[in-house]
C-alpha cells in the first residue's frame, strides 16, 4: 500500500544517497539519545528536585526550633547551594538539549527527504478498477463508520452532560423560571424588598413593601425618623438597598455619590467620580432645571453605580471604594442628560440617547463588577429624558425604553431588540411602565398609549396596540398603575385616571399642587408629592378621595424611595427618613 521504490537500486548505491541516508540515521540516533537525556533531566526537575526542596524546607523548620545547631545550619547552606546549582545546570542542559534534539530531528528529516528525492517514483501495480459496486460499498462503509463515530461522540457528550448534573452545592438555589434551563438566583426575589433604581426595581413607582407610613409632619416632628443634609444639589431620586440609602449630587466641578445609613441618617461615605482625562474638561451647558445630577443611581447590592449629565459613570463597592469609572463622552442633549440607570443582576443598563436626530444613541450594559461592556446596541431615537426599566414577563426579563418615536423592548442578556412600537414624538421625559401585561407610555400633552407585551417581535405598532386615549398628559412625571387603573400627573397638578382595560378616562382631578416628582402607589393608596413638600395621600380607586396631607418644610423634586416601614424623601437640601419613630 505504501509508496514503493523498487527500481531505484542503482541510485541507492550512489555515494551521495548513501551519505545522506547515513547522515539521517546518525542524526536520528543522536536525536533519540538527546530525547532520553532530556527525559531524565525532566524527571529530575519534576520529581527529585522538589523532594530535595521539601527536605531543605524541613531542615529550615528544624533549625527554627534549635537555632544554635551550627551543624544543621551548615547542612542547610550546603543543600541550598547544591539545589540551586543543580537547578541552573539542568536548565542549561534542557535548553541546549532541546536545541540539539530539534536540530537532529530537522537534519535527519532534511537528509532523508533529500535522499528520497533522488529516487524516482516507480509504477505502482494498479489495483482493481474502480467499479460502481466498490463505490457503493465504500459509501456504505463510510456511513457506518461515521455513524459509529457520531454515536461515540454523542455518548461522550451525554456522559459529560449526565455527570454534570449539579451537585448539592449547585442545587441550593432555586431553578430559574426564565427560558433558560440554568439554575439561578432569581433577580425578582433578590430585589423584592429593595429599591435599587429610579421608581423601584421595576421602574413602575409601585411600592410592594409593608408598613409604609401615611401620616407625618415636620413641624410637629411627627414620624420623621431622621433628616440629614445633602451636600450637593441634584434632582435625582434616592435608592435603597438593605440598610443603606444612596443618592447623587453634582455641580459643574464635582460629581458625587453619597451613602447614608438608613437607620440613623449618618453620611457613611462620599464617592467622587472623575474618570481619567476629564479633569480640565469644559463644563457642558446644562439647563438649570435639569442640573448635573438628574440621573438616579442604581445598585445590585454589592455595587452602586452613578451616572451624571456629563456622561461620566462610576461604580463603588459597599464601602465606598471606587471599582471603576469611565467617561462615555458628554451626551448631546437639549436640556441635559437626565436618564436614570437600570440594574439587572450584574448588569448596569445605560440608555444613552443623544443628538437631535437618530444615529448617536445606544443602550449599553456594563458589568457592575469591573465596568466591562457586556453588550451595546444602537438605538433609532434622538435625545430623550426617559429611563430604561426592567420588567419581568412570563417569558423572562426585558428592558423597556421610550424614545421618539419608539417604545422598545430589549433582552437584558444580549441587548438584542425584541420589539418596537411607534407612538411617541418630540421630547419625551415620562418613563413607560408595565401594568397587567400592558406597556403604558405617554405622549406629553396628547395621548396615553398601551401595548400588549405578548412577545411578538419586530415592529408591533399595529399588532400589539391595546388602546390609546387622549388626555391632559404630563411632560415630566411618569404614570403609575394598580393593574386596573392608571394615573397621570401634570406639573400643574392635573391628576387623570384612566381604565387600564380600555383607556377610557375615569376621572380628572385638579390638585392645588405643583408636581415634579412622579406619583407612587403604596398598597391601595396614591402618594403624590408636591414641589412645596406637601404629600397628598389619596385612595387608589375609581373616584378621587383624598385621605390626608403631610408636609415637610423643604422643596421636593425627586421621587420617593422605600424600605420596609420607611420612606425616603429628598428635598433640595436634605434627605428625610419617614417612618415609625421608636
Amino acid at each position: 500500500m505504501t509508496m514503493d521504490y523498487i527500481d531505484n537500486t542503482q541510485i541507492k548505491m550512489r555515494p551521495l544517497y548513501q551519505g545522506l541516508m547515513g547522515c539521517s540515521v546518525v542524526a536520528a540516533v543522536l536525536g533519540v539519545v538527546a530525547a532520553v537525556l532530556l527525559a531524565v533531566a525532566g524527571y529530575q526537575i519534576r520529581v527529585t528536585d522538589p523532594a530535595q526542596a521539601d527536605l531543605l524546607q524541613k531542615h529550615k523548620e528544624q533549625l527554627q526550633t534549635r537555632p544554635s545547631d551550627q551543624a544543621l545550619a551548615e547542612q542547610i547552606r550546603q543543600m541550598d547551594a547544591d539545589i540551586r546549582r543543580n537547578e541552573l545546570r539542568r536548565q542549561q542542559f534542557i535548553h541546549t538539549g532541546t536545541i540539539y534534539l530539534a536540530g537532529s530531528i530537522v537534519i535527519a528529516a532534511v537528509c532523508f527527504i533529500a535522499a528520497r528525492s533522488m529516487l524516482k517514483p516507480a509504477p505502482v501495480v494498479p489495483t482493481a478498477d474502480s467499479c460502481p459496486a466498490e463505490q457503493i460499498q465504500r459509501a456504505r462503509q463510510t456511513r457506518l463508520v461515521v455513524t459509529v463515530t457520531l454515536a461515540l461522540l454523542g455518548a461522550v457528550g451525554l456522559y459529560a452532560a449526565l455527570t454534570a448534573r449539579p451537585k448539592q452545592a449547585d442545587t441550593q438555589s432555586q431553578p430559574h423560571s426564565q427560558s433558560s434551563a440554568v439554575e439561578a438566583v432569581d433577580w425578582a426575589e433578590v430585589v423584592a424588598q429593595q429599591w435599587p433604581s429610579f421608581r423601584g426595581p421595576w421602574g413602575d413607582g409601585v411600592c410592594r413593601m409593608p408598613d409604609i407610613p401615611s401620616v407625618w409632619n415636620e413641624k410637629e416632628n411627627k414620624a420623621i425618623v431622621w433628616k440629614s443634609e445633602v451636600p450637593l444639589p441634584g434632582f435625582s431620586s434616592p435608592i435603597v438597598w438593605d440598610d443603606r440609602v444612596y443618592l447623587t449630587g453634582a455641580t459643574e466641578t464635582e460629581q458625587k455619590l453619597f451613602c447614608y445609613d438608613a437607620k440613623d441618617g449618618k453620611l457613611l461615605w462620599t464617592g467622587q467620580i472623575q474618570p481619567d482625562g476629564t479633569a480640565g474638561r469644559e463644563a457642558p451647558n446644562i439647563m438649570e432645571d435639569t442640573g448635573f445630577a438628574a440621573n438616579t443611581p442604581a445598585t445590585n447590592g454589592s455595587r452602586i453605580c452613578a451616572i451624571f449629565a456629563t456622561g461620566d459613570i462610576g461604580c463603588f463597592d459597599r464601602d465606598g471604594k471606587i471599582q471603576w469609572q469611565k467617561a462615555l463622552g458628554v451626551p448631546e442633549s437639549a436640556y441635559g442628560y437626565a436618564t436614570s440607570l437600570a440594574v439587572f443582576e450584574n448588569k448596569i443598563i445605560v440608555q444613552f440617547d443623544q443628538g437631535s436626530e437618530e444615529g448617536l444613541s445606544e443602550i449599553l450594559a456594563f458589568n457592575s463588577a469591573d465596568g466591562a461592556i457586556l453588550w451595546r446596541t444602537k438605538r433609532p431615537t434622538p435625545n430623550t429624558w426617559t429611563s430604561p426599566t426592567i420588567v419581568k414577563t412570563d417569558k423572562g426579563y426585558q428592558i423597556l425604553t421610550s424614545g421618539s418615536p419608539w417604545v422598545m423592548g430589549y433582552d437584558p442578556a444580549t441587548g438584542q431588540e425584541l420589539w418596537r412600537a411607534s407612538c411617541l414624538g418630540s421630547d419625551i421625559a415620562p418613563t413607560q411602565i408595565l401594568a397587567a401585561g400592558l406597556v403604558v407610555a405617554l405622549q406629553p400633552y396628547d395621548k396615553l398609549y398601551a401595548y400588549r407585551l405578548d412577545n411578538a417581535g419586530g415592529d408591533v405598532t399595529e399588532s400589539a396596540k391595546a388602546w390609546d386615549g387622549p388626555g391632559d398628559m404630563p411632560d415630566i412625571a411618569s404614570p403609575v398603575s394598580n393593574g386596573e387603573l392608571v394615573w397621570t400627573l401634570t406639573v400643574s397638578g392635573g391628576l387623570s385616571c384612566f381604565d387600564l382595560a380600555d383607556g377610557k378616562e375615569v376621572y380628572v382631578q385638579s390638585l392645588d399642587l405643583e408636581c415634579h416628582a412622579s406619583p407612587v402607589l403604596v398598597g391601595d393608596k396614591l402618594y403624590i408629592l408636591g414641589q412645596d413638600g406637601q404629600m397628598i395621600i389619596a385612595q387608589a380607586g375609581r373616584t378621587y378621595e383624598e385621605l390626608g396631607r403631610n408636609i415637610i418644610d423643604e422643596e421636593c423634586y425627586a421621587s420617593p424611595a422605600f424600605a420596609p416601614g420607611r420612606m425616603f424623601l429628598r428635598s433640595t437640601k436634605s434627605l428625610y427618613c419617614i417612618g415609625k419613630v421608636d
Binding site: 535548553h95 530537522v106 463505490q135 462503509q141 454534570a164 448539592q168 463588577a369
Partner: protein, 419 residues
C-alpha cells in the same frame, strides 16, 4: 501568619528613610516588549509567503521549491517567531473579538486569520502546503505513509469539526484558547514548555512518521474552514494541467488520500436506491441537529467549568455548603478581596447561560455537519479522470512526479526553454 492571605497591597508601615549619605534611590527598570515594526514585518513575510505558495503550487509546480518554502516557513514562523501568532490559533482571538466588545483584536492577528482564507478562495490550500509551520513540521517527517481507509478518514475528520466548535465556544465565552493551549508543536518552536505538551508534541511527531499530517487532517480547526473554501476555489492544484491518460500511476501517490479515482455512473437500480437513502438521511438531518443541540446544551454545566469565574463560584458554593475542606488559592483570593458572593453567583449564572446557548448552537452545528457528511457519502459521484480532491488536497505537490503526462510536459518545457 493569618495575615499572610491579605497580601494584596501591603501598607506603608515604615516610612521611606531620609538618607544622609547622598544615596540615590534607584529606579525600577522596565524592559520594553519588541517594537511594533515586528508585527508589520511578520504580516509582510506572511503575505509574501502565501503569494509564493500559490505561485509554486499552481504555476511553478515544483515539489522541491514547495519543500524549500515549507522549510523557510518552519524556521521563520515556527522556530524564529516561536509559533505565535499563527492562523490556526487566531480562531480564538477572532471568536473572542466577535463576542466580547471589550477585547481589541490586534491587526496582525486579523491578517493571519483572513489572508489564508482569501488566498484559499482564489488559489487553494497553498497555506497548508508551505506556509503553516504546523503543517510543515508534520510534512517533513513523513517517512512511510500508511493509507488511512477512506471511511475511517471521513469519520476521524469529524473530530476537527468538534474541535472547531468547542474552540470557538470556549474562546467566545472568554474561558480559554484551547487551540493555543494544546498547540502540538509550540513546545518545539519555543524549545520550551511543560512536560505534557512535550509528550503531546512528540506523540504527534511519531504518528506523523507514518500517518500523513495527522493534525492537519483530523484535528486542525482552521483546516476545516480551508477545506470548505478550497472546494470552490477559483484555481487549484491539478495532478497535471494536461489531459489525464488514466494510466493510474498516481493512484497511490498521495499520502493524504487526496487523489481520487474516476468513477462511473451507478446502474439505474442502485441510483434509485441511493436516492431513497438520501431522502432518508435528509429526514434524519433535523433529528441529528436537535439531538446535537440537546446534548450540547445539556453539557453546559461541565463546559462552563472551563471558565475561571464559574469554577470559583462552584468552589465557593461547595465551601459554603461544607462539601469540601479548606480553600483553594482562588477562593482564598476571592474572600480576601471582599467581593460579593451573590454577585459572583449571578455572574457565574450568566456565564453558564452563555454556555447553555453556545453549547446548543455548537451541538446543532455539529449535528448538521454530521448529517451533511452522511448525505454527501450517499450522493453518487461521476468523475472522468484522476484528480486532486478539491477539499482534501494540501497542495503539497508530491503527485506531480508520478504523472507521466506531467513529466512529458516538463521535458517539453525545458526543451522550449533551451531553444
Amino acid at each position: 501568619m493569618l495575615m499572610l492571605s491579605m497580601t494584596a497591597w501591603g501598607v506603608q508601615r515604615f516610612p521611606p528613610p531620609q538618607f544622609e549619605s547622598g544615596y540615590q534611590i534607584p529606579q525600577t527598570t522596565t524592559p520594553m516588549p519588541h517594537p511594533p515594526i515586528r508585527d508589520v514585518i511578520d504580516s509582510a513575510v506572511f503575505l509574501v509567503a502565501l503569494g509564493m505558495a500559490s505561485w509554486l503550487t499552481l504555476k511553478k509546480r515544483s515539489r522541491k521549491w514547495i519543500v524549500g518554502l515549507m522549510l523557510f516557513s518552519l524556521f521563520y514562523f515556527g522556530f524564529f517567531r516561536n509559533g505565535c501568532v499563527c492562523s490556526v490559533g487566531s480562531i480564538g482571538n477572532i471568536a473572542l473579538a466577535a463576542f466580547n466588545s471589550e477585547y481589541t483584536l490586534p491587526a496582525v492577528v486579523l491578517v493571519f486569520f483572513l489572508a489564508p482564507l482569501v488566498f484559499t478562495l482564489f488559489f487553494g490550500r497553498g497555506f497548508c502546503a508551505a506556509v503553516c509551520p504546523l503543517g510543515a513540521m508534520q510534512d517533513i517527517v513523513l517517512i512511510r505513509p500508511v493509507r488511512v481507509p477512506e471511511p475511517l478518514e471521513a469519520a476521524l475528520r469529524l473530530l476537527a469539526y468538534v474541535y472547531l466548535a468547542f474552540a470557538v465556544l470556549f474562546a467566545a465565552t472568554g474561558s480559554l484558547f484551547v487551540i493555543c493551549r494544546y498547540d502540538p508543536f509550540v513546545t518545539f518552536f519555543r524549545f520550551n514548555g511543560n512536560w505534557n505538551l512535550w509528550v503531546l508534541g512528540i506523540s504527534f511527531l511519531l504518528i506523523s512518521l507514518f500517518v500523513g499530517r495527522p493534525y492537519c487532517r483530523f484535528l486542525c480547526p482552521y483546516g476545516v474552514i480551508l477545506r470548505q473554501l478550497s472546494r470552490i476555489s477559483r484555481w487549484r492544484v491539478k495532478i497535471t494541467p494536461d489531459e489525464c491518460i488514466q494510466c493510474r500511476l498516481c493512484e497511490q501517490a498521495c499520502p493524504f488520500g487526496a487523489v481520487v479515482k474516476p468513477s462511473k455512473p451507478l446502474p439505474p437500480a442502485e441510483n434509485a436506491r441511493s436516492k431513497r437513502t438520501i431522502a432518508f438521511l435528509i429526514v434524519l438531518l433535523p433529528i441529528l441537529a436537535a439531538l446535537g443541540g440537546w446534548i450540547g446544551s445539556a453539557m453546559h454545566p461541565t463546559l462552563a467549568r472551563a471558565h475561571p469565574t464559574v469554577r470559583l463560584a462552584n468552589r465557593i458554593d461547595a465551601e459554603m455548603a461544607g462539601l469540601v475542606q479548606g480553600q483553594t488559592d482562588a477562593s482564598e483570593a476571592f474572600r480576601a478581596s471582599g467581593q460579593d458572593v451573590q454577585l459572583l453567583r449571578l455572574e457565574a449564572v450568566s456565564i453558564r447561560y452563555r454556555f447553555w446557548v453556545g453549547g446548543m448552537m455548537a451541538g446543532i452545528a455539529l449535528g448538521l455537519i454530521a448529517g451533511g457528511k452522511l448525505i454527501a457519502s450517499a450522493v453518487p459521484v461521476v468523475r472522468k479522470e484522476y484528480e486532486a480532491h478539491r477539499a482534501g488536497c494540501f497542495a503539497c505537490g508530491r503527485c506531480f512526479a508520478y504523472c507521466p503526462v506531467e513529466q512529458k510536459r516538463r521535458i517539453d518545457q525545458s526543451i522550449m526553454n533551451t531553444k
